[in-house]
Amino acid sequence: MAELRKRKRRRKRCRTVKRKKLVHGRRKTVNLRKCRPRKPRHPALAPAGTHPPAPVAAPPAASAPPPPTSPPPPPRLKTIQSPIGVYSGPFGRAQAERLLWRAGFGPRPGQLDALAALDLEGAVLSLTRPTGVAPMDGPEPTVDGQPLDVFETWYDDTLYWFDRLVRSRHQLVERLALIFHDWWATSTEAVGSSQFMLEQTNLFRTHGLGSFADMVRAVTSGPAMLVFLDGISSRRGAINENYARELMELFTLGADRGAYTEADVRELARALSGWRADWVSGVGYTNFRWDQANRWDGNTKTVFGQSGRFTWEDACRLVVQHPLHPSFFVAKLWSYFIPVPPSSDVAARLEAAYRDSGFQIRPIVEAILCSPELYEGPRMVKPPAVLTAGMLRARELPIDDARWVWLTDGAGQRLYHPPDVSGWDDKRWLDTNTVRARWDIVNEVMRGQSITSATWSSYPAETASEAVAKARAFWLDPVLTDETVPALHEFAATSVPDNPRASLRAQRQNALRQLIAASPDYQTC
C-alpha cells in the first residue's frame, strides 16, 4: 500500500515533454520529464554525516521467537536479543581490539581501555545503536592544504569516504557501508559520477542497520546501480538482463543453489524494466525515474513460480521473500565478520531471526558481534582500507594528502573501484605484490612519524626490551602472537651491536615500528 502511494506521488510530480536531444552523439526524440526537485531522494553530500535515528532501547519489532530445539540464549544480554550463543569469557582489551577491527577500523588512542571498561553488551551497543549526526574526530581532510573538492577533483570521492573511515565515531555505520559497497559492488569507473556513488554510500549508511528489504529497493532505484547494471537501458521490447541476473546471483540469492532458473532471470528482468534517465551533455545522466507508461513491460511475468504483472518493486520483494534468501544473507553477512562459516544450527537460528524480524540487519549484526565465534575463533585478514584507516586512527593522523588512494589501491582495494560486480575477493588480500604494498603503506604512515636523523644523536638510552615495548605502544599495544613477541625481542637484541650508539638505537626503534605494523600478526586480528 505504501509502495503504491509512493509510486503515485512520483507520477504526479512529473510531466512528460518531447524534445529533440543529442544522446550519445545521436539526435533522438526523447521524452523529457519535467519534475519538481527531488530533494530527499537525491541528497547531496550533507546527509553523509547523518544516518537514520536509531531506537536506543527497543530492538526492532517482531524479534525472533525462541528456537525450538536448544536452550534459550544466556541471560547476560539485557537489550540485545541474540538467537545464538553469546561469548561468556572475559571482555578486556584483546576482545575490544578484535571488536573494533572487525566492526570498525581499529582503535584510536584510549579507545581500547574505554571499551574494555564496558561489558560485552555495552561495547557492542556502543557500535550498533548510533544516534544523530556522526561526530568526527580530528581535523577535516585536505590535499595540498585545500579542502576536498569531492565532485570535481579526481580521487577526492575516495578520500572523502576514506576520511570518514578514519574520523567518524559511528564506526560500524562506516564499516557496514564498506561491507555493503563490496556486497553491491558498484564502480565509479562505469557509473561515471561521484555524486551517484556517494549517494549510494549514503543508502548503505541509512539502511546498513535497518531493513535489507528497504536497502534492496533503495539500491535498485538508485542512480548508481541503474547506470552500472543498465537499469536505465532496459525497457519494454528491449529488456536488459544485467541487473536481474546480478540481483539474484550476487546480491540476494546466490548462484548454483537452485534458487532460480534462466527463465526467472528473463522474467525478473521484465519486471525490473522501465527505468530511464536523461542524458544532459556536460552533466551526464539526470532525472532518473520509472516510466511505467512508456518503458515498463506490463505483461504478466512468472517468477519463482508466481505470476503477476510484476513491477520493479515486486521484483525487489520477490527476491527478498524467496525461501533461499535468508540463508544467502546470513552466510554472506557472517563472512564479513568471522572467517569460518557458522555451524548449521547457528546459521538456521540467524536465518529464522532474520526472516521473522522482517529482514532487519541490526539484530543479526548484534548477534554476530556477541557470538563466541567472533572472540574465540581464528584471526581474520584486515582489508587494505581497514588496515590503512586503522593505522591513521592509531596515530591520530589527518588526511592531508591523496597518496592513500594510490597506496590502498596498490594493496588491492580502492574505495568506489571494486574489481568487478562481485566485489573484492576477501579471501585473497595477501600475495607478494600486496604484502610489498602494505609494507609501503606502513612507510607512508611513518612519514613525519619516524625518528629522523636530525634527532638521532640525542636519542635516549633504551634497552632491547624497552625498545620493543615502546614500538608496541606506538601502535597501541596490539595483540601479538606468542611466536611473534619473542621474535621481536630477539630482533631488538641482535640486530644492532651491544651497547648501540644513539643513532642505531633510533634506527632500531624505526625498524621495530615498521616490523610490528607490517607483521603478519598485525595484518590480521
Binding site: 564502480s187 562505469a190 585478514v381 575477493d425 611513518m446 625518528i451 611466536e483 621474535a487 624505526n510 615498521q514
Partner: protein, 459 residues
C-alpha cells in the same frame, strides 16, 4: 591555441589504467565510448620461482600457482618460438613529424610553425619515398631502416576513423571495429595457440594488463619492474640493520600456525622476502646485470632491457606489450615536447635491437610500434589535433625492410581534413599472425578475409 583534449586524455589514461586493473567498463569518460578489452578477467598474483618474477596473472583462475610454474618451466623447455613485442605510442603520435613530407607542396602551408626543415643531411632522406625525411631525433631508427631492419607503414588506419583516443585504441586493441570487444587481438592468438598454464606467454610490462593481451581463456601476466622489487624502510639507513629487518620479516612469516588466515599472511610475508632475494641480481641500479648494449636512462628503456634479459633467461614469452616513453597527444607546444621524446624512444629501440642481436635473439623478435591515430595535417598554431591515418613500424632482423602502403600525400585529405590511410591495421595484424606467429589468422583477426592483398612484412 585550440581547444585541447590533453586534460581529458590524461584523465582517460588514468581511467584506462584503473579499468585494465579492475576490468570495469569505461563508458563515463565520453558518452558512447566502448568498454576496454580485458573486462571480466580477475587478477591473481603469484611468484614464479623459476624466473624470479612477481606476476599479476589475469585469467586462468582454476589453476594453482604451482601449475603455472610448471607450465612456465615446460614452455621454456619447448624451445624457441617467435616473440611479438607490441609498443604503444600513447596519445596519437604525429606521423607527419616522424617522417616529414618535406617534398609535399602543401606541407609547409599546413604546418607554418611546425614543418620540419629539410635538414640537408643525405641520410635523413627516406630512401623509399624521397618526399619524406626522418625526424632528426629518429636517427637511430633511420639507421636501422638503412640496415634493412625497419618496415615502414606510413599511412595506417581504418575506414570511418574515430578520433576518440579511447575508441580508436580500443579498435586497435581488440583488432576489430567493435566497440563491445572484450578480448585483445593478441589474447585471441594466445587463446588458440597458447597454453593453459604459462602466464608469461602474454606479458604486460606494466602495473596493469595491456588490453591487447586480454585473453578469453588462458592466463596472461603483468609485471612492472622485476628489477625494483624490494622493501624499503623509512629512516633505517644502517645497511646491516636494514638487512636484519628484512630477514626478520621473512622469519616472522616462516613461523607455523594453525590459524588459517594468519598462516596465509605469514606465507605471503615469507614469499615476499624470498622474492626480494631472488630478484636481488636485478634490483638496485639499472640494470644490475651486464646488458650487451648501452641503454639510455628511463623506465621505457629499462623495461626493454629487462625484457631482453628475460628473453635471454629463456623465459617463454610470446606476446609482450608495453607503452613507449612519454605521451604523444601534442595539442600544443609540439616542438617543445616531441623531439626529446622521440630521441629517447629511438635510442631505446636501437639499444634493444642491438641487445637482441648481441644475445643472438634478434631473429626471434618482432617489434611492432603503433599509435591510436595520426594527427591533423593542419596545425593549430603550436600543436596538432587528433587525426586519422598514422604511422606504424615493424622492427627486427627478419622484417622485409620495405615500405608497406604508400604515403598518400597531402593534396587530398579525407572528409575531416585528415591523412587518408593506405593500409588497414587489421591487414597488418593478419600478416603478423600468419607470417610471423605462423598460424592461420581466421578468428584471431575477425575481418582477416576482407584483406586479401599480399602484404610483405617479414621474411
Amino acid at each position: 591555441m585550440t581547444a585541447c583534449h590533453c586534460k581529458d586524455f590524461s584523465r582517460s589514461a588514468l581511467l584506462r589504467s584503473a579499468a585494465a586493473h579492475a576490468g570495469a567498463g569505461l563508458r563515463p569518460i565520453e558518452a558512447g565510448m566502448p568498454a576496454a578489452a580485458g573486462t571480466g578477467l580477475s587478477r591473481r598474483s603469484f611468484l614464479a620461482r623459476s624466473g624470479g618474477l612477481a606476476l599479476a596473472v589475469f585469467g586462468g583462475g582454476a589453476l594453482r600457482p604451482a601449475a603455472w610454474e610448471e607450465g612456465i618451466a615446460a614452455a621454456s623447455a619447448a624451445g624457441p618460438a617467435p616473440v611479438l613485442v607490441s609498443i604503444f605510442m600513447s596519445g596519437g603520435v604525429d606521423s607527419l613529424s616522424l617522417l616529414a613530407p618535406v617534398g609535399d607542396s602543401r606541407y609547409a602551408a599546413l604546418r607554418p610553425t611546425l614543418a620540419l626543415a629539410d635538414s640537408g643531411v643525405p641520410e635523413d632522406v627516406f630512401t623509399e619515398d624521397v618526399r619524406l625525411r626522418w625526424h632528426p631525433d629518429l636517427a637511430p631508427i633511420r639507421d636501422l631502416h638503412r640496415g634493412g631492419m625497419v618496415t615502414v607503414i606510413p599511412a595506417i588506419g581504418y575506414d570511418d576513423p574515430n578520433q576518440s583516443h579511447f575508441t580508436s585504441r580500443h579498435y586497435w586493441e581488440v583488432g576489430e571495429i567493435n566497440p563491445l570487444g572484450r578480448v585483445g587481438w593478441m589474447g585471441r592468438y594466445l587463446d588458440r595457440h597458447g597454453s593453459a598454464d604459462n602466464p608469461l606467454q602474454g606479458l604486460s610490462l606494466d602495473y596493469n594488463l595491456a588490453p591487447g593481451l586480454a585473453a578469453g581463456s588462458v592466463p596472461v601476466a603483468a609485471v612492472a619492474a622485476p628489477e625494483k622489487y624490494r622493501l624499503w624502510t623509512r629512516d633505517v639507513w644502517d645497511a646491516s640493520l636494514n638487512a636484519r629487518l628484512n630477514e626478520r620479516f621473512g622469519a616472522l612469516g616462516a613461523q607455523p600456525t594453525a590459524d588459517a588466515e594468519l598462516a596465509g599472511a605469514r606465507d605471503a610475508a615469507r614469499q615476499t622476502v624470498a622474492l626480494q632475494e631472488q630478484l636481488a641480481p636485478l634490483s638496485g641500479r639499472s640494470p644490475a646485470w651486464t646488458a650487451p648494449a648501452s641503454y639510455p636512462g628511463g623506465s621505457f628503456p629499462r623495461r626493454l632491457a629487462v625484457l631482453a634479459e628475460m628473453l635471454g633467461m629463456g623465459l617463454p614469452l610470446r606476446c609482450v606489450a608495453l607503452d613507449a616513453n612519454g605521451g604523444y597527444d601534442t595539442h600544443d607546444d609540439q616542438n617543445g615536447s616531441l623531439p626529446g621524446q622521440l630521441n629517447l624512444f629511438a635510442a631505446s629501440i636501437a639499444a634493444f635491437q642491438a641487445d637482441l642481436i648481441a644475445r643472438g635473439l634478434a631473429d626471434r623478435v618482432l617489434i611492432q610500434v603503433w599509435s591510436e591515430f595520426g594527427r591533423r595535417p593542419r596545425e593549430n598554431g603550436g600543436g596538432t589535433d587528433h587525426g586519422a591515418g598514422g604511422l606504424s613500424l615493424l622492427i627486427g632482423s627478419r622484417v622485409t625492410g620495405t615500405l608497406v602502403g604508400e604515403f598518400p600525400g597531402l593534396a587530398t585529405l579525407d572528409a575531416q581534413d585528415n591523412l587518408r590511410h593506405t593500409v588497414d591495421f587489421r591487414h597488418v595484424y593478419k600478416h603478423i599472425v600468419q607470417d610471423w606467429l605462423g598460424v592461420d589468422a581466421t578468428g584471431i583477426v575477425p575481418d582477416a578475409a576482407k584483406f586479401s592483398a599480399p602484404l610483405a612484412l617479414v621474411r
